[in-house]
């Protein structure tokens, strides 16, 4: 039984080909019952991710045992997020951590948790991960809080973006307003 707060062994995000998008393995120094040093080298980690992906690439499930680890996972568009933990760990605990992370990331990326946006906003996702799990300890399970702590307070919100869409929007509003006015006349 794990009596410490060190719950999560790793968080991994892979794409549809099984390539790593983001991976963070935790080997906390102060863990009172250190697990045998596994998954410390890049080679081991790659092999682990590959095998795990092979087992879980089909959509549907959200939990499995692989190679002596308990893995909960979540498919999201073209990504799969995994949280890896000790097999004796409470499944729902890991699942709640995973859910809060992916919910927060979803909020931050405006519901587009996909490879492109993750890579474009890697800073946000990394900060989000840091707010969810700190060296294997689950820090926060409330996704709104996580998201709010990551998103920077914007000093200047009046920055106007001008592109085709905004122009079209402006045109639309002008058109509507005109129609209303004309209708009133």
């Amino acid at each position: 039984m794990n009596l410490s707060l060190y719950t999560v062994a790793a968080l991994i995000i892979v794409d549809t080909d099984g390539h790593r998008v983001l991976a963070k393995y935790y080997h906390p120094a102060g863990d009172p019952n250190p697990t045998p040093k596994r998954l410390t080298t890049l080679k081991e980690q790659r092999a682990f991710e590959k095998g795990l992906f092979q087992k879980t690439k089909k959509a549907g499930g959200d939990i499995t045992l692989y190679d002596g680890y308990l893995a909960v996972y979540k498919h999201s568009l073209d990504l799969i997020c995994y949280i890896i933990g000790d097999p004796s760990e409470n499944e729902l605990m890991l699942l709640s951590a995973l859910a809060s992370f992916s919910d927060a990331a979803n909020m931050l990326l405006r519901n587009q948790l996909e490879k492109r946006s993750v890579l474009e906003n890697l800073d946000l996702v990394l900060l989000c991960l840091d707010e969810t799990i700190d060296d294997g300890v689950i820090v926060e399970t409330d996704s709104t809080t996580i998201a709010s702590r990551v998103s920077r307070p914007k000093a200047d919100t009046t920055e106007i973006v001008i592109n085709e869409q905004t122009l079209m929007n402006a045109y639309q509003t002008v058109k509507e307003k005109m129609q209303q006015r004309i209708g009133q006349l």
Binding site: G30, M93, V137, E140, D142, S148, P153
Partner: protein, 842 residues
Amino acid sequence: MVYLAIKELATTAEDVIMVTSSIMKDMQPNSEVIYRPNAIRALCRIIDPSMAQGVERFFKAAIVDKNTSISSAALVSAYHLFPAAKDVVKRWVNEAQEAVQGKSSSSFFNSSGGSSYLGWGSSSSNTTSGYQPIPSTSYITQYHALGLLYLIRQQDRMAVTKMIQQLGGGKTGAGTVLKNPLALCMLIRYAAKIMEEDPNMQRQILELIEGWLRHKSDMVNLEAARVICEIKGVTAAQLTKPIAVLQLFLSSPKSSLRFAATRTLAALALTHPASVATCNVDLENLISDQNRSVATYAITTLLKTGNEASVDRLMKQISGFMSEISDEFKVIIVDAIRSLCLKFPAKHASMLSFLSGVLRDEGGYDFKRAIVEAIFDMIKFIGDCKEQALSHLCEFIEDCEFTKLSVRILHLLGLEGPKSPQPTKYIRYIYNRVVLENATVRAAAVSSLAKFGLNAGEAKLSKSVNVLLNRCLDDVDDEVRDRAAMYLKLYEEQQLAMTYVKEESVYSLSALESKLVSYLSDPDAGEKPFDASSIPKVSREQAAKEVARPSTLETIGVPSSSKAATPPPPSAAETQSQYAQQLAEIPEFTSYGQVLYSSTKATQLTESETEYQVSCVKHLFEEHIVFQFNVSNTIADTVLENVAVIMEPQTDSGLSDDFTMPIASLGANSPGIGYVSFTRDESTAYQTASFQCILKFVSKEVDPSTGEPEEEGYEDEYSLEDLELSAADYILPTYVTFSSEWDRLRGGVTVTETFALPAMESLKAACDSIIEILNMQALGGSEEPQSTSIHTLQLSGLVAGGGGKALVRCRMTYSKAQGVTLELSVRTEKQEAANLVIAAIV
């Protein structure tokens, strides 16, 4: 983002003062709220323990901060810091206590988030961005604070118990202040730990945990149910409630819940199949579950709980989806089937056909091995299916890609094949291997063939095998040719054939290994041939027992539990070679030569509860005898120096004192080893003696603040129990075929004496004590008397130091009035050995 970088670099950085000061600035209470938690968490990575004192004030303030994020961050950082700076963190216990009570978070508690105890629940998300971060509604701070509190108090069971009672609320669990499900899960685990350590608390805590079974959160329910299921010696009545909870989970729409529940049930089914049987209906629905892992667990559970009638139906369903699941789960299923067919031998036919079916499927080595082992077990334990199983195996090796498996199967065929009514049909398969396979398999096939030839009664068969073997003489591989030649030779000499092919005993492998290693490392020994007769032999059954897989009957079907299984205690021979290695490292003993024999079990010279614990192991050399004392000191805060055992031989023993090797320093709870050496005046005689032992030492107290022992100590003595050097220390149990060996030793020394043992209460007690006194191997099951009045016990042993074999036949009669009367006949190669044995009984 900067903080992240700092954290990642933290392990490599050396000069941290600059960074620290800038982070400290961010931590100031007046700086922007959003950065403070990050600053705190980054800080704990870079400071070293000595600086922890300096930031103490900040941490204390942060832990009780109104903002939960800051508080959490401070607690988590404290948790990370704890191993490095115990003393400092221990002082924060009051602050952590306050955080657990959750007073601070209640002020942030707004009614809209009231229902979201679960982090992933319905958190209100209307103001996602802005200057003020949204306060957490998950009470996660409690989780961290509880973890830290436990870490600080874990050595103190009373404090933890009190904490559990305080936080656990009343009997129903409703009055608890803990609102975070994760925190409750941790609390349940702590409670379970306490329950395991302290049986007195069991009832009380069990009530608490049962209360949590009705908690709102699934996570808590699951944890509580699982903990109850894992209690050692849990009764069926206690199990009903958690099983009811798990049963609910089984029909849950969430696959992770189903997974968790089936996994727990599968583990429980190993120990309490009857209790789990109530869930069978739900489990059967899960067999067709989307998630294959859930389905597999469901099936294995059913296989364990099911009765004979449902087996056939299950087998049909399993074979339906066998192709869809991964190898790992296939292995689990095969293991479950193996234990099942041992449980219901009547169903072997359907299972065997299933196994042979999957044997033909695609699969990796582990999977195939599991199947082959399952079939092996069936052959071993279920006589009826032997023939069919063998023919399945024969077919399998026709196109088996794994050399190891082929060799094992060929070996088994060699053993079992000749006993079957039609051995000829296997020979074709085996000879095919000789023609088609690689060298390793060919060699195995040749041995197997030869066994057919030698063991089969028919002359015609052995003749045809002879022809086949002759053909193998032209093989390209040396090993194959050698084996064929050797077996052909055996055809001509029936006596040799008896020893090589039908011999029932094998050398104890680990003993043989250690002897061979010492033989090779000793340059002088190279001149004489290796003496194999000094190695104890064990019977085949024993050897099989030693390597027996722990999974014959009580197969473990759950992969997670295999980690928990403890490794078997080292066998006697392993400890022997370990001792030999220890002795070889001590320079004084190198001139003594090889250890002839070490007593296997350490003799306790003290009660197990005393301040100093001493046990003794005896090592016998050619001309010396060495006593090894394992001393451990259980008193904390003292160091024993110059620890020596003074041994006084009581009788005129024929031993003279060489030297005593004391232990220089012995701290608390770290055992040390001291030696006492004696010279045996005559190396051929077997000295027996009794020794008075005294432990002498200088006791010094340890200064608790510095950890250094004080200058002055006082001398002290501690008397130990007497130590006996007896016949058993010279004799090594070994296996022989008693009747033939007994006849062979007719020419040796035979001594017969009669004893009356009025104190013995039964023949069984007499047998046990004789075996213990002589330290010999009982043969042919003769250690278990069949009749209550008359019995013959057969023993054999090797006498150390060139004493050769010793055989003992004890004829015993028992009557109520006179106790046991014993006629002891000893046959040995030398007179001294016989004397030794007789003297031991007197």
